[in-house]
Structure formats: structure tokens, C-alpha cells
Amino acid sequence: MRRKLGYADVTPKNLYLSRRTLMAGAAGLAAGALLPGGALARIAAEASPYSIDATPTAYEDITSYNNFYEFGVDKGDPKAHAGALTTEPWSVVIDGLVGRPGTYPLEDLVAPARLEERIYRLRCVEGWSMVIPWIGFPLADVLSRAEPGSGARYVAFETLMRPEEMPGQRGFFQPLDWPYVEGLRLDEAMHPLTILATGLYGEELPNQNGAPLRLVVPWKYGFKSIKSIVRITLTADQPPTTWNLQNPREYGFYSNVNPAVDHPRWSQATERVIGGGIFAPRRETELFNGYAEEVGHLYAGMDLTVHY
């Protein structure tokens, strides 16, 4: 007798297990690893030399203090409203100047990847930072498999547009144009620090943090790290980006973390550290968020006050 095929039949075991980490059935594999979120089981991921040596911010803070305007403009809105987002099934369109364009099921993108834990500091353009232990893999892997054409110089990204599940995209008062779009230069996108994340703190990405697949570019302000990606397009020209469209004087295409280049309305020299209570000392913001050695060469000869 033939059984109907399900995800488990076509999905690599490590992947579907990772996608169901929170289910009771996985508890046996979990070896009792108790997470701050209270869940059992961890996504298997290798440590990475790119991780910074810093204590991660509490899980509760990382998952309750979010800018994800598709769910509302308040920091608590994403956690309150993102639960309704359907992330399964999920697919990503990869198109533009690539040899192998197509609509790729999320599983196909993640399955070949060697997942790593990357502990990065996330510096928000608003002047605060937190340390997040991401689970992910280099964006370069996905781009290389899609075979970028010789004319490709930029990568454009697009977030899901689904007003029925994203209350921030509904109604009379819209803070931004949807869908949210972002972009990188191809060399930035291919840099080994640039990852696509599928999890954090050893768990699947909570919806409010950009499930099921988001970009993380640790040397740029947080808004460059686009969430819940549905399209990746390789282009010859610099693609439009949402915050730059909203206010070009305040948010540039590059938006590299830089203490010497202020936001027109506030200083970027220091940052409030999330999770340390009211007496947590401010941090001196570092050029490229501390990755000057790794990424400085990408901007050699560029005037960073012009290309902010």
C-alpha cells in the first residue's frame, strides 16, 4: 500500500529535525540541553572563528525587543503579532543575473549548508546593541550555487509581503513602503561574515527575529539585515533599499557601522547596551562594528562620510 509522501520523505533528516526542535519527540535527542527559552533540543551547529568573544544578550531580550515594522513600529509589536506568520512552507525566488534562477524551497537552500553558530554584535542605527548567537551559513554558498553572471554587481533582497499575516502592512497608517527591500554590493554579499540565519540560541529563529530565513551583515546597522526573505535578485545596478527610500539623507545604501559618521539627528559614537539594566555602561561604537580588519578593504579609497 502506498503512503502519501510528506516532508519527512524528501527532507534531510537533520533539517526536518531542526525544524521541529520544539516538539516533544525530539526531546530524546536533546540530551537535556535546557535553553533560556525553556525549549529542549538544539540545532546542531559548529562553532565559528568569526564569533566574537562576548556574552550573548538574554534570549528574552533578543526576542522581545525587535524592529520588524511589518508587525508594528513598537519594539514589542513583533513578538506580540508575529506568531500568526506562516513560515512553512517557504520558498525563496532567486533570479536576476544568475545562471540557475528559480523558486527554491527553503529546504533546498538550507540542506546543503553546514550550519554554524555565529556570535555577532548587532548594532542598531538607533544607538543600541545586543549580542546574538545566530545559527546560519554563508550567503556566499547560496549565491555561488545560483551561479552569478559576469555582469552581476549587486544583490537585492525582498521581505515577505503578506498583509493578512503582517498587521504593520495593513491599514491607514503605513510607516514604510512594502515590501521591505535591501541590498548589498556583490563583494559584501560574498564576504564570509555575511550569513543567512535560520536560528538563534540553538533554536529555530522565532518569527519576530525574521523566520524562517534572514540576512545578517554584522558590520552594518541592523536594518540592512533583512528579515523573512522571499526573493534574492542579482543585479548590475545598485538596488533601492527601504530606509534609503524613506529618508535618503539619514540612511545610506552602505550604512556601515561608523562612530565617526553621525546620523543627522543623533551621534553614533556610543551605544546603549541592551540587557544590562539601567546602570549598564555605554559602549564605544567600533568602526565596522569591530570588523575593520575583515571588511575594511572593501571600502578602500571610499569616502565613508559620502558613502554612508
Binding site: S64, V73, K75, P175, A269, R272
Partner: protein, 214 residues
């Protein structure tokens, strides 16, 4: 002057209320937010939350003080006895808001604080509003009215209008997009100021007409 039905009853009830305990009641929210902050119960970014809540309450008391006269003229209900309290509470919250920024947010980093105070428009606006409130608070007691004389005192206390306007713009100017809340406050403040401007124009016309008649 239009009078709402029942305004007299409300006024009688208001007259029976003592103003003294009102100050204590007005400071309860401050105690509440500061306690939560010290207990680290204000979420991931407690300094920003505390700063924001104290600033909002300052703005709310400024709006309340500004609304006293229009409310009386529209409905006959008079909170005049409480206006000084609204103003002083607004000042107290503005000071707490500023202190939070100075001590907890900018952590007494004076060079950068001074740079912000001359460079950042939203901080300049907030600071200017606070400075404007200082002479008002300093001359809020009965004897100051006698010293200054009623006319001069009233002229000085018109500083409450620009201070409130600056506070509302200060709020809009520090957010990233155009969220509803600061815009709503700005709209309410604009309406209240428009009401005053209208009143001023009318009374000036009356005065001019009166002079011609004489």
C-alpha cells in the same frame, strides 16, 4: 460663554477637592516607573523606556495646563485651581526626564553631552523647552504674582505655549518614521495653541474697537 449642562455640579465637586494631595498623586507614576527601572522590570532597554515614559507624562501635564482655559470656555468646567499643579508637575517630570537622559542614558559623558546640546536639533528643542519652564516654576507661588504684578506675570507665563510646542516637536523629531503617537500629541497641542491664538486675535480686535469708540 457656553456652559455644558452639569458644569456647575462638576465645578462644585472640583472646589471641594484639595490641591495639596494632588501633587502626591501626580508623582505616583514617577515613583512607579522609577521603581520598575531599579528592579530591572522595564524590558530590554529600561533606560529608553524610563526616559520615554517620564517625557510623555511631562508633555501630558503641559497639555493639561494648556487645556484648562479652552475647557472652561467650551464647557464651563473649570480646573483653574489645578493649573499651577499641572504646570509644576510638568516641570518635575521634565526635570526627571532630563536627569534620566543625563545620568542613565548619556552617563555624564560631558563632552558628548555638550556636543549634543549644541548639535542635535531635537535635544536643543527639548532643552529649550525645559529652560523656558524654569522661570515659570520659579514664579509659580502667590507672592511672585504680587511681586511681578498680574500683567507681567501673565506675560511671562505665556512661555508655556512655546515650551509645549517645542516639547511636542522634540517628540516627533527623535523618532524614525511618522508613528501615530507623537503626531497625535502634536495635533492636540496645535489645536490648543490655535485656540489661544484665536482668543488673542479676538480680544485684540475688541480692544481696538473699544479704543475707537472712546
Amino acid at each position: 460663554m457656553p456652559v455644558m449642562q452639569g458644569a456647575g455640579t462638576i465645578n462644585q465637586a472640583l472646589r471641594r477637592l484639595p490641591t495639596g494631595p494632588g501633587y502626591l498623586v501626580g508623582l505616583v507614576p514617577a515613583a512607579y516607573w522609577i521603581t520598575l527601572a531599579f528592579q530591572n522590570r522595564l524590558g530590554a532597554d529600561p533606560v529608553r523606556t524610563l526616559e520615554h515614559e517620564l517625557g510623555i507624562i511631562a508633555l501630558q501635564f503641559l497639555v493639561a495646563a494648556l487645556a484648562v482655559t479652552p475647557l472652561r470656555e467650551l464647557t464651563g468646567v473649570s480646573f483653574l485651581r489645578f493649573r499651577r499643579m499641572f504646570g509644576l508637575l510638568a516641570f518635575a517630570y521634565a526635570i526627571l526626564h532630563f536627569t534620566t537622559w543625563l545620568v542613565l542614558d548619556r552617563q555624564l559623558d560631558w563632552p558628548r553631552i555638550l556636543a549634543d546640546l549644541v548639535k542635535r536639533p531635537y535635544i536643543i528643542l527639548g532643552m529649550t523647552a525645559l529652560l523656558m519652564l524654569i522661570p515659570l516654576a520659579a514664579t509659580s507661588f502667590d507672592r511672585a504674582v504680587r511681586w511681578l504684578g498680574g500683567a507681567r506675570w501673565r506675560r511671562l507665563h505665556r512661555l508655556a505655549y512655546p515650551a509645549t510646542a517645542l516639547a511636542a516637536v522634540h517628540f516627533i523629531w527623535l523618532v524614525k518614521t511618522w508613528p501615530l503617537e507623537p503626531l497625535l500629541y502634536a495635533a492636540v497641542v496645535a489645536l490648543l495653541l490655535a485656540w489661544r491664538a484665536r482668543g488673542a486675535v479676538f480680544s485684540r480686535r475688541r480692544r481696538i474697537r473699544g479704543q475707537r469708540a472712546a
